[in-house]
């Protein structure tokens, strides 16, 4: 069942991996939606009303009700529109998909954030941590093309930010965590993931993204220095 476009709205920001993740899910299921670009320096009344506690994107509006937090939005989408399931059926495999999603969203993101913003020892420790985390992801891909198996699923959508935004972070902040020779399975996964049409056709422009995060990093570092 395809929802009428007006029923589903996504408040987002073009450079955000969490927002893209929701778009990937909506597009995989063929759900029509209206996309609203937010200026995060000047948040709309709608954003503040629908996500008063965290004031963040993405926010999914469905029949007027707001769902926030990208992984929670993915679960909501999967439970509401049942075609092209994102999560597997079996409870153990669902738990496993949620585990890797949490790992990528919390652990990998935290290490990347530190590698991106920190200096000195804190930064080198973060890079080392990130390398170990990527190794774990590489090991998990043993015998599988995607985390979801033959097709991409919930875990791939959650881990997917690494396929594009890790490279951007490395370029902007001048560090190297990913090593394709040491982690051939993860390297292959990154390529395969970005080649999936729904993903390939729904990524921000790389140059513009690098510029944006470069500016963002300079801003944050300057603010921290005061």
């Amino acid at each position: 069942m395809v929802a009428a476009a007006a029923e589903v709205k996504l408040l987002g920001m073009w450079a955000s991996p969490a927002v893209r993740r929701v778009e990937w899910a909506l597009q995989m299921k063929g759900i029509e939606y209206e996309y609203v670009e937010e200026d995060l320096a000047n948040k709309s009344a709608a954003l503040l009303r629908h996500n008063p506690i965290h004031k963040q994107v993405p926010v999914l509006l469905h029949c007027g009700r707001a769902v926030t937090d990208s992984l929670l939005i993915l679960e909501y989408i999967d439970e509401t529109w049942l075609e092209t399931p994102l999560l597997p059926r079996d409870p153990y495999h669902r738990a496993s998909a949620r585990f890797w999603a949490k790992f990528a969203e919390e652990n990998c993101r935290e290490a990347t954030r530190k590698a991106f913003f920190a200096r000195g020892e804190e930064r080198s420790e973060a890079i080392e941590q990130l390398r170990e985390q990527l190794q774990r992801l590489d090991e998990e891909l043993e015998g599988k093309k995607f985390f979801g198996g033959v097709e991409i699923g919930f875990a791939d959508l959650a881990v997917g930010w690494l396929a594009f935004w890790l490279g951007v972070s490395e370029e902007v902040a001048g560090f190297t965590a990913m090593d394709a020779k040491k982690l051939p399975r993860f390297a292959a996964w990154m390529d395969d993931f970005l080649r999936v049409p729904v993903i390939r056709d729904n990524l921000p422009p790389r140059e513009k993204t690098v510029e944006f995060f470069s500016y963002y990093r300079d801003q944050q570092l300057a603010a921290a220095a005061k």
Binding site: V67, T68, L72, E75, T80, P91, Y92, A95, K102, R136
Partner: protein, 227 residues
């Protein structure tokens, strides 16, 4: 349901996180074995079952290992479908998950750090904790439980705020959750700890208190939540 199910929980009697798992199993009437872990000396079984994080709780169900308390709760609800802990409808489910995460991310850490810091730092954590607890108190409102008439996912996730935080405030000599500022939460705490299933799973208060008193210096040094 399979015959001769083997359900084990790798746990620590002190931990609110493994309590969450045990409470969920109790609410659903699932017989299980509690395997006490010494966190200073982790068993080979724990290290094999949760090699990445090496943490409790871990649920072992017929040999399959499921780590991370939030993920375990969803697994339990999907595997044993009586007495559901999550609502049926997708929107209500997303709200339950939202409030669980809010408690984990915005309440527990700030409450914990309020106990172990001093001066301006303590004031800052207490302010953060108060702001989050106020939001939670408003969300609960007049309801008996976050889950409505019966205990649900959010109530289970909020367990730290009941017995454990009560004990910790006593050990640290602070009073953050009081009846004046947080009437709904205080009422919830009383109702929660008095519920049969909860009473049967909670560790004894006096033992918890004595243990945290004895660990106070060590916790003050590291602020670590692993004890």
């Amino acid at each position: 349901m399979a015959e001769a199910e083997q359900v084990k929980v790798l746990r620590s009697w002190l931990s609110p996180w493994s309590f969450k798992v045990e409470l969920a199993l109790k609410l659903k009437g699932v017989p299980h074995e509690k395997v006490e872990e010494d966190l200073a000396n982790k068993s080979p079984l724990l290290l094999a079952s949760n090699p990445i994080h090496k943490k409790i709780p871990v649920l072992l169900h017929n040999g399959k290992a499921i780590p991370e308390s939030g993920i375990i709760l969803e697994y339990i609800d999907e595997t044993w479908t009586n007495n559901p802990i999550l609502p049926k409808a997708p929107y209500e489910r997303s709200m339950a998950r939202f409030w669980s995460r809010f408690i984990d991310d915005k309440c527990v850490g700030a409450c914990w750090m309020s106990c172990w810091t001093e001066g301006e730092t303590q004031q800052m954590f207490m302010e953060q904790a108060r702001a989050s607890l106020r939001i939670l108190d408003d969300e609960l409102g007049e309801r008996k439980f976050f889950g409505g008439e019966s205990i649900g996912l959010v109530d289970i996730s909020a367990c730290f705020l009941s017995l454990w935080f009560g004990v910790l405030q006593e050990v640290a000599g602070i009073s953050l959750i009081n009846g004046e500022e947080f009437p709904n939460l205080c009422r919830w705490i009383e109702g929660f700890v008095a519920t049969d299933a909860v009473t049967e799973c909670l560790p004894p208060r006096d033992e918890l208190l004595a243990t945290f008193q004895s660990k106070k210096q060590a916790i003050l040094a590291t602020k670590s939540m692993v004890y």
